[in-house]
């Protein structure tokens, strides 16, 4: 187990180093930050001087080593655009994105699980067919189209909910939350719905598939045969059996949702990390882009590693498998 743990961790570190290399190579050859920082009237020599001070004239290796060493210390430098410490900037934006992703995840579980159970239990019923078709529509709608339509309906036509921003926020330590104020909660509704549509259908389909398998197992058949009420069998026993994969998937999807939030954040002007990233792309704000890519990859890798290790801990066979896969053909 220890060997597996070390191996898996080493693997994660290797992946992060590779991501760092990729991030650096990409950003080194992308756009020109100097033009974004100088005033319209700056002369050619002003520009050359700034380039020198930013270290953009140093050799490739020098710049890469500097990048990795700094990144390991969570130091991504100063944002070209905001002139603030990038780590602080991302830390300030993280709560907005995290709350959006969190609420979207909760919505997807609260809505997705019951729908999945219903479609599995009442398979072939009219309701299940409608829901099944609805779920295909759900994964087929581009989230930016959903967002635009929600704004058009609920903000412009009905005037019920805000069209942009986070509303009032309250600071708790360094964390700023919109969950404690009425306007903050209102502002959260449309973006989190538009972000969760895809996730709802995924949860629903997973629950349905797992339920269908569980319903075939002997113990469910046995319980039914013994006369345990159907609802109880389905909602208590069978569902409980399906929850582990659902929770695993939800956990692993968080990284994806954080990344995908950048589309939602763009549509709703949500002041989170994704909007920061998209604006950084427009302004060639290299430090912010690098830090965002590294952070999102880190969240991804950590979640995946934790899931792998947990699974291996629960089921030792998986350890063997991985070991065999690595060594069999050496």
């Amino acid at each position: 187990m220890l060997a597996f743990l070390i191996k898996r961790t080493a693997n994660a570190i290797f992946v992060m180093l590779a991501v760092a290399f990729l991030a650096f190579v990409i950003f080194r050859f992308f756009g020109d930050p100097v033009e974004m920082m100088v005033n319209e009237q700056a002369t050619q020599s002003d520009r050359a001087e700034l380039r020198e001070r930013l270290g953009l004239n140093d050799g490739f290796i020098t710049q890469y080593v500097r990048f990795v060493v700094n990144a390991a210390q969570m130091d991504f430098g100063i944002s070209y655009r905001n002139q603030q410490d990038v780590t602080v900037l991302i830390k300030d934006r993280f709560p907005a994105t995290f709350e959006l992703v969190l609420v979207a995840t909760v919505i997807s579980l609260v809505v997705g699980i019951p729908l999945g159970v219903v479609t599995a239990v009442h398979r072939n019923s009219a309701l299940a067919n409608v829901l099944q078709t609805g779920s295909i529509v759900g994964i087929s709608l581009p989230s930016f189209v959903v967002g635009i339509m929600l704004i058009l309906l609920f903000s412009v036509t009905l005037g019920w909910l805000p069209a942009f921003g986070r509303g009032e926020t309250v600071d708790i330590g360094w964390w700023s939350t919109g969950l404690l104020t009425p306007s903050g909660r209102q502002a959260l509704i449309l973006p989190s719905i538009s972000l969760s549509i895809f996730q709802i259908t995924m949860v629903m389909r997973l629950v349905r598939a797992e339920m269908l398998e569980t319903l075939r197992t002997d113990y469910v058949k046995f319980a039914r045969a013994r006369g345990v009420p159907r609802g109880r069998v389905h909602w208590r026993h069978a569902l409980r059996n399906c929850l582990m994969p659902v929770i695993t998937l939800t956990g692993m999807q968080i990284g994806n949702l954080i990344a995908f939030a950048l589309v939602t954040e763009t549509v709703f002007q949500w002041p989170g990390m994704g909007m920061l990233f998209i604006q950084a792309v427009t302004f060639v704000d290299i430090p912010v882009m690098a830090a965002y890519l590294m952070l999102v990859s880190l969240i991804f890798v950590v979640l995946n590693t934790v899931v792998d290790i947990t699974y291996a801990w629960v089921d030792p066979r998986l350890r063997d498998d991985t070991a065999r896969a690595g060594g069999a053909h050496g």
């Binding site: 992946v15 590779a18 994964i139």
Partner: protein
């Protein structure tokens, strides 16, 4: 695994080769035949939603590829756009004008023509990126699973790295970097190939992993060992066994990824890192139309959005049906 590429291959007599092939051909044929006569066709015929989706997709694809012959205008030819004819509403509106059935945009571009040409771009990019990802994924998966060792390690580590970054992020980075570093003349020509690569890069890993797992299982089987003993090109036999074995999950994944690829292309174009405004895809049309959402020019954004949803919906319905039909557990 060095034996697999044994130079002794050259010593194979033509007879032996033919013999190998001859034993294989009937197997393959019967397999195809079985597929045709299998439940798949029956299942298709008994699923009205699958028939509907296939019909819709065929119609969309046909009109898209016949666009140059059936549309009143070539929306990519700048000299055919007439600013005087801009912002004409759809034909059923009192101010509508023939031949602009769905109206025109702010440049005088016929919306119907733009939608058909845009659908063509979306379909081609989606299809090509799936094919590219399939080709790369199958090839690398086979190499990794069959040869193992360092090649397996390198390929799978690259896959790990790609999978540790969100799909959309990789695609944005690739397109943004490419468009920033290419000269303009090339950018126009290469816009679609760049998108194809950007969408294919993060998605080949899935296929490679499936094929690799299947190849690893297969390479341990006795017939492979036997083939090695008699110095037959073991990989040829394996190809014939491995590919059919993993075809089912790969076909389902490829179909669903086709829908996803079209959505990704639209999202990238919506974010402004996809197709340029003078060769608009559906996502570009929606991005442009979005600026006029409140100006009463609803037809610029609504029709492309509907078309995009219809394409992805029909692809997903087919993929969904295929998954159920090919999954023996659900029969």
């Amino acid at each position: 695994m060095a034996e697999a590429k044994d130079p002794m291959d050259k010593t194979l007599t033509p007879d032996m080769r033919t013999a190998t092939d001859a034993t294989l051909v009937p197997v393959r044929r019967s397999r195809l035949k079985r597929l045709r006569e299998s439940d798949l066709w029956f299942s298709f015929r008994s699923h009205p939603s699958a028939i509907f989706a296939a019909g819709l997709l065929t119609l969309i694809a046909l009109t898209a590829f016949l666009a140059p012959w059936i549309t009143p205008q070539n929306p990519y030819d700048l000299s055919s756009l007439e600013l005087w004819n801009s912002e004409i509403p759809p034909i059923w509106n009192a101010e509508g004008q023939w031949p602009y059935i769905l109206g025109t945009d702010t440049q005088g571009r016929d919306i119907l023509s733009a939608i058909l040409y845009g659908s063509r771009i979306s379909l081609v990019i989606g299809f090509a990126s799936v094919i590219l990802a399939l080709a790369v994924g199958l090839a690398l998966g086979l190499v990794a699973g069959f040869f193992g060792g360092w090649s397996d390690n390198v390929i799978m580590r690259i896959g790990d790295v790609l999978l540790s970054m969100p799909f959309i992020l990789i695609a944005i980075l690739i397109t943004a970097v490419a468009s920033a570093s290419l000269p303009t003349g090339l950018k126009d020509v290469l816009a679609a190939p760049i998108l194809i690569v950007a969408i294919a890069v993060p998605s080949w890993v899935q296929y490679a992993r499936t094929v690799r797992a299947s190849a690893m299982v297969e390479s341990r089987k006795e017939y492979v060992q036997a083939a090695r003993l008699i110095r037959v090109k073991a990989w040829r036999i394996m190809l014939h066994h491995i590919l059919p074995n993993c075809m089912t999950p790969i076909m389902v994944a490829a179909t669903l990824n086709f829908g996803l690829a079209i959505l990704s292309e639209a999202t990238l174009s919506f974010l402004g890192v996809g197709m340029p405004p003078d060769q608009p895809s559906l996502g570009t049309l929606i991005r442009i139309g979005n600026q006029y959402l409140f100006s009463g020019l609803w037809w610029i954004v609504v029709f492309p959005a509907i078309q995009l949803c219809l394409i992805v919906l029909s692809v997903n319905m087919i993929g969904d049906w295929l998954r159920d039909a090919l999954n023996p557990k659900l029969r």
